[in-house]
């Protein structure tokens, strides 16, 4: 018994102690995405985007470092399975075993929050692809942490503005009981009160629920002028179908969690007319030529669609994170503190999620221009009128 145990411990130690790597040619970037588990519909396009950029950069010889030489890019990607413990271990592995300069990811807010302590203690820059504002706030306590997705209060702000402009002041609300849904509700409640909207119904459903008609029936009974559903597919799609089946006619709004073709595919005809706030990637072709993001958006959409399939905003978050890291490594090489400083001083970075202006007090760097109201018309995304 004890022999077995000793052997086990010895194996673990052996695994952990090997000769430290010398300063190597490649620039190493770590990535943690939720390739499996509930976050996979977001994590997979993020991973694919990161790999696409890696291949692209290496095809051109690598990153030009501060020493003037080209360094190949080595991307180390781990799956956290949408699980906090796995994310923590993945982060530690990237930092101590793979010796990465910076980490991009994670996909979900819970896993990002879970690894904050690890990256801050180890002083490794983290560029998160998760939405919760808490990830980068309060800024004084998040020195090493940045994020690329638009914050909930930003997205919700765009939605509330639109509701007000259309005179839809009595709103029914449903959210998925996952962190994403809860955070959306917290922001919406605040913004609605400030904006003079009344929330007449407030319901919840589970991520894996297969039927939301009870909740929608309750909402219907409160006679709202518009209904907002805050979730991601597949539950967002099921709710949309239920909505149509129940014959509900008032406008239905979704969150930016439905910014992928999968949502439309799953909801079928019921998706027609659905409105949601999201990054401009989905309507890139319809933007004015003067929009600074248009060129970047079109290029990414074209490349991603050629290799992987329909574009979606989540892949865009990863695009932003990886490129921010690469630019910082181009300025500071493998020096983690230098890379952190370089990210923090990034101004006017034209990304997929918006135009970023980082500072010591703002590690998200986006404003309202980063999102637009989009409507689904016959299975296509159109800028909402």
């Amino acid at each position: 018994m004890h022999v077995l145990f000793a052997l086990l411990v010895a194996a673990v130690i052996l695994a952990g102690t090997h000769a430290p790597a010398r300063a190597q040619e490649p620039y190493r970037l770590g990535a943690i995405f939720s390739v499996t588990g509930p976050g996979s519909s977001l994590g997979i396009p993020e991973r694919d985007t990161a790999l696409m950029i890696e291949a692209d950069v290496n095809a051109r010889g690598g990153i030009a470092g501060p020493d003037g030489r080209l360094h190949p890019l080595k991307l180390v990607v781990y799956d956290d399975g949408s699980d906090e413990t796995k994310a923590v271990l993945a982060a530690k592995k990237l930092i101590d075993e793979d010796k990465v300069t910076a980490i991009v990811g994670t996909t979900l807010s819970g896993t990002s929050l879970a690894i904050l302590d690890t990256v801050q203690k180890a002083e490794v820059p983290l560029i998160s692809c998760a939405a919760a504002a808490k990830i980068v706030e309060p800024a004084a306590e998040r020195r090493w942490v940045f994020k690329t997705p638009q914050s909930d209060h930003l997205i919700v702000g765009v939605l509330v503005d639109y509701l007000k402009a259309k005179g839809l002041t009595k709103v029914g609300w449903l959210n998925v009981d996952y962190a994403f849904g809860q955070l959306g509700w917290i922001e919406f409640e605040k913004a609605a009160t400030a904006g003079g909207l009344t929330v007449v119904a407030n319901e919840k459903f589970g991520q894996k629920d297969v039927d939301m008609t009870p909740q929608l029936t309750r909402v219907k009974a409160a006679h709202p002028q518009a209904v907002v559903v805050w979730s991601i597919p597949p539950s967002a799609s099921i709710a949309t179908k239920n909505y149509a089946d129940l014959g509900l006619r008032m406008p239905i709004f979704q969150s930016h969690g439905v910014g992928n073709k999968k949502y439309i595919e799953l909801a079928g005809g019921a998706a027609n007319g659905v409105l949601f706030p999201a990054g401009k990637l989905l309507v890139a072709e319809q933007l004015a030529d003067t929009d600074p993001q248009k060129g970047v958006l079109l290029a990414y959409a074209r490349d991603f669609e050629a290799k992987y399939g329909p574009r979606n905003t989540f892949g865009g978050h990863a695009w932003d994170a990886v490129h921010l890291a690469l630019r910082a490594m181009g300025k500071a090489g493998t020096d983690r503190a230098g890379v952190r400083a370089a990210i923090e001083t990034t101004r006017n970075f034209v990304g997929i999620s918006g135009v970023f202006d980082f500072s010591a007090s703002d590690h998200n760097g986006l404003d309202r221009r980063a999102a637009a109201m989009i409507q689904i018309v016959d299975g296509q995304w159109k800028v909402a009128k």
């Binding site: 018994m1 799956d79 592995k93 203690k121």
Partner: protein
């Protein structure tokens, strides 16, 4: 295992754990070992319930969660002292176990297991929905690390000492319990409940006592987890974790606390080993999707060839 032999092993264990951070620098390895200890604690608790009280508990994750949240909320939201919060968390685990155990231990076999399953899941949903206290699905950040004066347990090496220290103490205590009169009564219970009752052993009280002890131990693990990660949310504490603990205990061999620790180590290390090995065997980036299937197959193969778990194997070769 005899008391002196156990003492030697525990002392040796303490020495190894104490010296380890000087031999191993990698925070990854140290972190893994911290999780082994935390899971080990919970697994020991469950193995006492299953091995000695002879009951399957499918809701142990709830005690882990209770420990994490009681200690986490008291320190993060109310600023209480970490050790006081920890002690309260352990007490809460025991108390909840006792309260839940009182009615459900009147049930038997499958229905008892189902009641524990229901309990575990209900606790999870309370954690998700009672957002005012628990922070809801997005959880609580800012749980402070434990500290003794200026010495803070805020890195992997120190948490290693704390977590393994706790585990070794619990192993010593369980060992003593197993050897004592109570332990003999427990083993009689495990052998045959009817016979034990016939000899005058108060089986109901015994089972309740073991269940409460397990609740306390698992809550301790949960509290340590909270102070280690400095962040807690409900998602690690769902039914899947209760199942994982069950797997650890059976893998290690029921009715053996050492086996429980081995089982915990096996599961944690296996998952990480798969993460390391699979990319070498398959295309580097498709590996994640294979991890689940491979884990399942290994589990099945293991159970077919070693149904009595690792402890059973050791006993056979001893």
């Amino acid at each position: 295992m005899t008391a002196p032999a156990r003492g030697t092993v525990l002392a040796a264990g303490a020495v190894v754990v104490g010296a380890l951070p000087w031999a191993v620098e990698s925070r990854y390895v140290l972190g893994m070992l911290v999780f082994v200890a935390l899971n080990g604690l919970s697994a020991v608790g469950l193995s006492l319930v299953m091995g000695f009280a002879g009951q399957v508990s499918l809701g142990q994750a709830a005690f882990f969660a209770i420990g994490a949240y009681v200690s986490g909320v008291l320190t993060a939201t109310y600023g209480w002292n970490g050790w006081v919060a920890l002690a309260l968390a352990v007490a809460a685990g025991a108390l909840v176990a006792f309260t839940v155990g009182l009615p459900i231990f009147r049930l038997s076999g499958l229905l008892l297991a189902m009641a524990t399953l229901a309990f575990g899941i209900i606790v999870y949903y309370v954690l998700v929905n009672w957002a005012a206290v628990t922070g809801g699905p997005s959880g609580l950040t800012g749980v402070p690390a434990l500290a003794v004066g200026g010495f803070r347990f805020d890195n992997d090496a120190r948490m290693l000492w704390l977590a393994w220290g706790a585990l070794l103490v619990v192993l010593a205590v369980s060992g003593n319990v197993v050897d004592s009169r109570i332990g003999r009564a427990l083993r009689a219970l495990h052998g045959s409940e009817a016979a034990a009752a016939a000899v005058g052993i108060d089986t109901a009280r015994l089972k309740l006592g073991v269940f409460s002890l397990a609740g306390a131990i698992t809550a301790l693990a949960g509290a340590l987890y909270a102070h280690y990660l400095t962040f807690i949310n409900p998602s690690p504490f769902g039914f899947a974790y209760s199942v994982e603990l069950l797997v650890m205990v059976v893998l290690g061999g029921v009715a053996s606390v050492w086996g429980a620790v081995l089982g915990a180590a096996a599961v944690v290390l296996l998952v990480e080993a798969l993460r390391a090995i699979l990319p070498l065997l398959t295309s580097a980036h498709g590996a994640a999707e294979y991890e689940i299937a491979v884990f399942g197959v290994l589990l099945m193969v293991f159970m077919i060839f070693l149904p009595s778990g690792l402890a059973g194997l050791a006993r056979r070769t001893a």
